[in-house]
Symmetry: C2
Subunit: 306 residues, 2 copies
């Protein structure tokens, strides 16, 4: 089955505005874009997403996947984004069965950003099997945190965006920012779907920046999902943990903390959650058996001076 | 018209979990609750909100108001929350007209948390008239930032929650935390609706902690909405700015930044947005005429050393 045809719609990610600071001085700063993108599936309006607009086609594909409205990219013939009218036109190969019924149940979730999940995602999580043997070394975790720190980003220039990234070991595969962190994770899901994998880890994914869907020779698509690590700047709420599990990613790293339901879902599916990951510090909340500790790398323990 | 009857459902806001730190040591920490609350309106299921659970009745009332499904608290007879079953049962006085139709359009927004807005909120903003003469002094802004800093909170004990607060001048009226910041602002809207106001600023609202809806003598409800300042730890996305405008609050202060559409909406409705507000620092993005600058309070300007 050929991959879906995706446009490459582009729009500026930041805009300059004039502000007044505390000294009564005018300054010019950059702020991130926030655009409305209305998704039409076979000419029927589905939803409007508010997005930074960096990768709208992957976002829409990942949204449909993470909402379980499609099973794989095979269900999609094309996604055409036109920023002039703020529309993403999705053409399916065979329609989506019972779309009315499947989009009628709303859960307004905790997450930052795209907070509407259709259907009962929680009902599904017991059917998810994550690979049992995937392990992350503490040194790899530190390399992941450092790679994010060094990344040039909209956040550095304009703030107010969340970032997600996909790693294989400590190798960065994709870095995505959006005004909503759920958009960012959906964008990663869309990218993964356009980068099919085989069940053995005997090869490597295309380097970051290579877009297999957009022409050129087919890359070596041989890395299974199960060897991936998902990084997010956002909190590990129930929805973020569910989406990671849905994508088959068994280890999630966050700069932020975790909520009670995120914790409960992660324990239930055997997902390793690591939060408060900055510099050498972190807390492993669940799935500690997937973390290969190397406490000698953590540096000296800080103790309060009496 | 009597105020709606609200239950006072309570549930623990944090839970202790055991974690592993970077030194390979086990620690016990608190994490915030995240609960699903399914809202039924006249026995018909409307939506499931994921919430910390501190003020579920105000949350549901504010949600219905901010979604424009009801016009005022007069439309509601009672809201009964039962955490045993995770349900909020809303009884209206006269039903909600065309509820099917009005909840069919979905906008999945940028905001942290409750990201689903029914209908075309953007279409409404041109009809909003904010009071023209409301001004905030820089000294009051600093007092607001300081009041938030001093607040005992779930954030301090467990992290991973957003806070909103309502001020009158620099006087704190209500402080709300939730795992989703849109829940926090909706909770404030619900509280405001239970604390009706008169069109002149000749009195004062009940002190924080007094719950007029829950019995006791009626407080002096004489403060107009227009003299309020809304504080949020979250970003000023389009939805946050729209919700503030809907509540008639003309000044919004954030610890975070602003997005392009938040900026555009604020300019359009003449709302004053102030971001990056920590300590003495801030940036006024829009509506600078509402900010009475006192640059002498800002302290010395920091300059790079050559």
């Amino acid at each position: 089955m050929p991959l879906p045809h995706l446009t490459q719609a582009r729009a500026p990610l930041t805009r300059e505005v004039e502000v007044m600071n505390q000294h009564g001085e005018r300054e010019t700063i950059s702020i991130p874009a926030e655009r409305d993108l209305t998704v039409y599936v076979d000419k029927r309006e589905l939803v409007t997403l508010m997005t930074l607009g960096a990768h709208p086609e992957w976002l829409v594909l990942g949204y449909l996947l993470n909402q379980r409205l499609i099973a794989s990219s095979d269900d999609i013939e094309s996604i055409t984004v036109d920023w002039e009218v703020g529309a993403a036109s999705v053409k399916t190969r065979h329609g989506i069965d019972h779309i009315e019924e499947r989009t009628s149940k709303r859960v307004v979730t905790t997450g930052c950003g795209q907070g509407s999940v259709f259907g009962n995602l929680m009902d599904e999580i017991d059917s998810i099997q994550l690979p049992a043997n995937m392990v992350l070394r503490q040194s790899q975790l530190y390399a992941i945190v450092n790679a994010i720190r060094l990344k040039e980003s909209t956040y550095k220039s304009a703030g107010s965006v969340h970032a997600c990234a996909l790693f294989r070991g400590d190798e960065l595969q994709l870095f995505v920012e959006d005004v909503g962190r759920h958009n960012a994770v959906d964008t990663i899901a869309g990218w993964m779907a356009m980068t099919p994998t085989l069940p053995t880890a005997c090869g490597s994914l295309p380097p970051e920046g290579a877009d297999p869907a957009w022409g050129g020779p087919a890359p070596d698509r041989t890395a299974p999902t199960g060897d991936k690590i998902f990084y997010t700047t956002g909190r590990l709420t129930s929805e973020m943990v569910i989406k990671s599990a849905q994508m088959g990613v068994p280890i999630v790293v966050s700069r932020s903390g975790i909520t009670q339901m995120g914790h409960a879902v992660a324990e239930r599916v055997g997902l390793c959650t690591i939060g408060r990951a900055t510099n050498k510090h972190f807390l492993c909340y669940t799935g500690v058996q997937r973390l290969q500790l190397q406490p000698e790398l953590a540096g000296p323990k800080l103790r309060a001076v009496a």
